[in-house]
Amino acid sequence: MQIPQDLIETAALKLKSVQSEAEFFQLRSQYLGKKSFVLSSFAQLKSLDANSKVAAAKELNILKGKLNKLFEAAIKEIQAKTDVSLLDVTLPADPYLVGAEHPIAEISQRVINYFLPLNYQVFSGNEIETDFFNFEALNFPENHPARQMHDTFYLNAGSKSEYLLRTHTSNSQIHAMLREPLPLYMLSPGRVYRCDSDTTHLPMFTQIEGLVVDEDINFGDLKGIIINFLEYFFNEKMEVRFRPSYFPFTEPSAEVDIKFGNNGWLEVLGCGMVHPNVLKGCNIDTQKYRGFAFGMGIERLAMLYYGVEDIRDFYSSNLDFLNQF
């Protein structure tokens, strides 16, 4: 019995061009139907002698098996194609809303992320505060002109205690120093208030305060962490300048300027060595411990970082503005 050598290859080739189940079954009938070569060849076996019959039957069975496998695989593929209707996958997705952090929260987190691996603890303090924690314990004597630098909001308390909206996050320093064991490495993010409003000032803004109280702390430690932080934050080597300034709770005090973009020197934060009066007021041995503190305005950093010109945009709730972040 003569068996065509390319039967399988021809069948496979024809199957590739089959588009529907109908075409498939038509082709299957050609190769595995009653009148197909394989099945009609089985009918012719009886005319062969015993030895040839066995050999031919074996060969036909192998061929039939291969054809069956080929057609089974093909029908599965055709059915998989025809069961799924073709979509225009380029049509728009169902409507969805994209969430986002507020840019001020994002910048705050960026700052915090620098200090967390350095084991700074994060404390949030009171926004309504007493005069003691906001001023007195921070070495602002009563009636001192330094208090006039802070246009303070006061509250109607109906009591002798004077309550105010904190003018800086430095109040958290005092709470932490009175409560926490030393050494202390802390960060305090939060909102602060001053009675002021224009394109660069708001009655409420966000500050992050940092404080370290430890043995053997010196001014070089303060400079080191500030420069390192600024280079982390802006992700580039920075030109940084420290210039003398005045804060009642630090001595010496410094303002820190950077050169960023095409601008001249830009003030980014205030810092200094913790004033001995502040440490003493918190029962800290100033012969053993020293400290440094720094505070930065997050809106100021965000304005520089993103190139925002009007600080009020951050609090406008305008999605046209916020969606850009």
């Binding site: 169902d94 969430g99 001020i104 350095l118 603890q121 009636n143 490495y185 009675c195 010196n218 070089g220």
Partner: protein, 670 residues
């Protein structure tokens, strides 16, 4: 303090450009801004001694390592004590009081144009040549002066605090009620000036003035501070006296005044009187070189330290200890401690020259509650919420619309906007405004949240609570291009909040209806973690929105400080290897029962092998009796130790129905 660059340049005898001169002062702590031909100096409140040309000159010369040399010219004067001129002085308020009487003034003419331009650039109004001269000397030397028309004074003067509130007509004609806490200059008729703040109308100089009394004094900063504000005033004099004026400068300032007076007027005679010359005790501060070097990270020699401080006017004193000792110059009111000297040395050395150390880290940080709110907020962001931030000031109407009567507002005594005198008691007010604003801008679907504090008054104290509040609002029905409708309802909100809380692994979350909220309608629930209320969710009450939003909105508030994310010890249950089986039960039940009641009865009565319970659907309408509802409940059974038999499951299902029938008279729906 604004100073004309050309004038300052001549005064300092320097060739530096305006920008370079500004830079020199900025680097030593006096931040400068150049505005045209003017340099604006930001003098910090501790450095009142620099509020003059002479003060700037002293700093400038120190930067060149030169000891200060006064370049001004003076008349020589002799001061005497005379009780008929200056009688009583309250020494707690006035350290010294000098008066120069000038009589027979003629040919009074204006200051030369350079001085007038200098005054104008400094923002000092030109009033009268004699007053202008006093102001000029103040800007030159730093000590304020007051010029009285002495023909209207009835000497002697007394420098005293008034016994009671006293009316006083100030220069310009305004009447001020002088408080007993304000030091005053009184003649025999009454108050003629509020010391260090403003002079009187009656004794002010005019075109007809022929005789003057020029005052130069040292008033105690503590007694002047905040006094001007009481009268709605802020004068150049009060600004300087509050910060401290050199108490050794007054007689010299009068000598300078007289020297310059000769340039603009003629006079017959002068007389100089001192009311008190109680000199302040010289102050001295010791300094340990070793401690300074540890503090700064520098290695400066005692010689270098001495040189730095001497150029700034400090005098090195002999000492028997290893420490250095310095006498503080009389103009430096900011010097008390050793660290104050450190700052001066470092200013001279240059902060930028101090070596930099690598960042130090603290001891192992302990977990704080900070992470709970951050994680919750992160979940909201991934759920499509936009975070917003707002000012916390609200109107009384907004506060009342969102807070129950038992919340007393925290009220500001000096609000920036008188229509918003209260601190917010809820975050929702601003979120409603944000929806309103963005609807107008064409946005139709919004999910917003805000994290911040809300405030209220508790007796004589105030409380602040951290809230995270969210709002979901669809202004128009949301449909896809294929007309598929996207719904958001109470149950979507419930899923959204529960998903977040359960993802945060908040333990024992329970919800309980709360129909008495101000912010929400009756369709609202309290959220509990165990017995602690950690928030609320529900349908927003349209009244609470004050017409800012028109369509139904859904919201929640979470109190993150009440959520504990502290890791607890886990008690793991063995995981069953055996298959689970589910059975549905279709019941008819009176509508008045809530699903929570049904759930409670089934879960609290130990139905054997019950693994979980769910609701497949509810149905009302055709075939269902009025007042009843059909519910299909799905029971999932599983045993940890064996495959369950059909009979065991049936027994449990019979118990379930029995419980429902007993508690609610539930019937099987055929």
């Amino acid at each position: 303090m604004k100073v004309q660059y050309s004038f300052l340049k001549n005064f300092l005898s320097t060739d530096l450009s305006q920008a370079k001169l500004a830079d020199v002062f900025t680097k030593v702590g006096f931040e400068c801004e150049c505005e045209g031909s003017i340099i604006d100096f930001d003098i910090t409140p501790n450095r009142g001694d620099v509020l003059s040309l002479r003060g700037l000159q002293r700093e400038f010369q120190a930067q060149q390592s030169k000891v200060f040399k006064d370049t001004l010219h003076y008349k020589t004067l002799t001061f005497k004590k005379d009780k008929t001129i200056i009688n009583k002085i309250d020494k707690s308020g006035c350290g010294n009081y000098q008066l120069m009487l000038v009589q027979g003034l003629t040919s009074v003419r204006a200051l030369d144009s350079k001085k007038r331009n200098f005054l104008s650039a400094a923002g000092v109004s030109l009033i009268h040549p004699l007053v202008d001269l006093g102001n000029y000397v103040m800007l030159e030397m730093g000590t304020p002066m007051h010029v009285f028309d002495s023909d209207h004074l009835e000497l002697p003067l007394n420098i005293l605090f008034p016994i009671s509130k006293t009316p006083f007509q100030a220069i310009g004609g305004d009447t001020k009620i002088v408080e007993p806490s304000s030091l005053t200059i009184q003649d025999q008729k009454g108050i003629q000036a509020i010391a260090g703040i403003i002079g009187g109308h009656e004794t002010s100089v005019s075109k007809s003035t022929k005789s003057i009394a020029v005052e130069a004094a040292f008033f105690n900063p503590d007694k002047i501070a905040n006094q001007a504000r009481k009268y709605g005033l802020a004068t150049d004099a009060s600004h300087r006296f509050e910060r401290g004026v050199d108490p050794e400068l007054q007689q010299r300032a009068l000598a300078r005044f007289l020297c310059l007076l000769k340039e603009i007027a003629q006079y017959d005679s002068i007389g100089c009187y001192e009311g008190s010359s109680a000199k302040l005790k010289p102050r001295a501060i010791s300094l340990s070189v070793e401690r300074f070097n540890n503090f700064s990270g520098l290695l400066l020699s005692p010689k270098k330290i001495k040189l730095s401080l001497e150029t700034l006017g400090f005098t090195s004193m002999p000492t028997k200890t290893a420490h250095l000792k310095f006498q503080v110059p009389s103009h430096r009111f900011d010097m008390e401690l050793e660290e104050d000297l450190y700052e001066e040395i470092l200013r001279c050395y240059g902060y930028d020259n101090i070596p930099i150390n690598p960042p130090k880290s603290g001891p192992v940080a302990r977990a704080t509650d900070y992470s709970a709110s951050e994680k919750f907020k992160g979940g909201l962001v991934f759920g499509g919420f936009q975070e917003l931030m707002h000012m916390p000031f609200v109107s009384t109407e907004t506060f009342n619309a969102l807070n129950s009567n038992d919340w007393s507002p925290a009220e500001l005594s000096n609000p920036i906007n008188e229509n918003e005198p209260l601190m917010r008691g809820s975050l929702f007010g601003s979120l409603f405004s944000a929806i309103n604003l963005n609807v107008k801008k064409g946005y139709s679907a919004m999910k917003f949240f805000e994290h911040g504090n809300v405030f209220h008054k508790v007796k004589n104290d105030f409380a602040q609570e951290s809230h995270i509040s969210g709002l979901i609002y669809f202004h128009e029905s949301q449909k896809t291009w294929s007309d598929k409708s996207l719904q958001y309802d109470f149950y979507s909100l419930k899923a959204e909040v529960l998903r977040l809380l359960e993802t945060l692994r908040v333990k024992s979350i329970k919800l309980a209806p709360n129909a008495s909220s101000t912010t929400f309608t009756i369709n609202a629930m309290d959220i509990f973690a165990g017995k602690k209320k950690i928030g609320m969710l529900g349908e927003i009450n349209p009244t609470a929105t004050q017409k800012l939003i028109k369509n139904p909105a859904f919201g929640f508030e979470i109190y993150p400080e009440k959520i504990s994310t502290k890791p607890s010890t886990l008690k793991l249950k063995p995981v069953s290897k055996f298959p689970s089986s589910s059975r549905d039960l279709n019941i008819l039940i009176t509508q008045s029962y809530s699903y929570a009641e049904i759930e409670t009865v089934l879960l609290n009565n130990k139905i054997q092998f019950l693994h979980s319970l769910g609701l497949v659907n509810t149905f009302e309408g055709k075939g269902i009796p009025n007042g009843s509802i059909s519910m299909t409940l799905r029971f999932m059974f599983q045993s940890p130790v064996k495959s369950l038999k059909e009979s065991e499951i049936n027994t449990s299902m019979d118990k379930a129905f029995h419980l429902l029938n007993k508690a609610f008279k539930a019937k099987i729906r055929s």
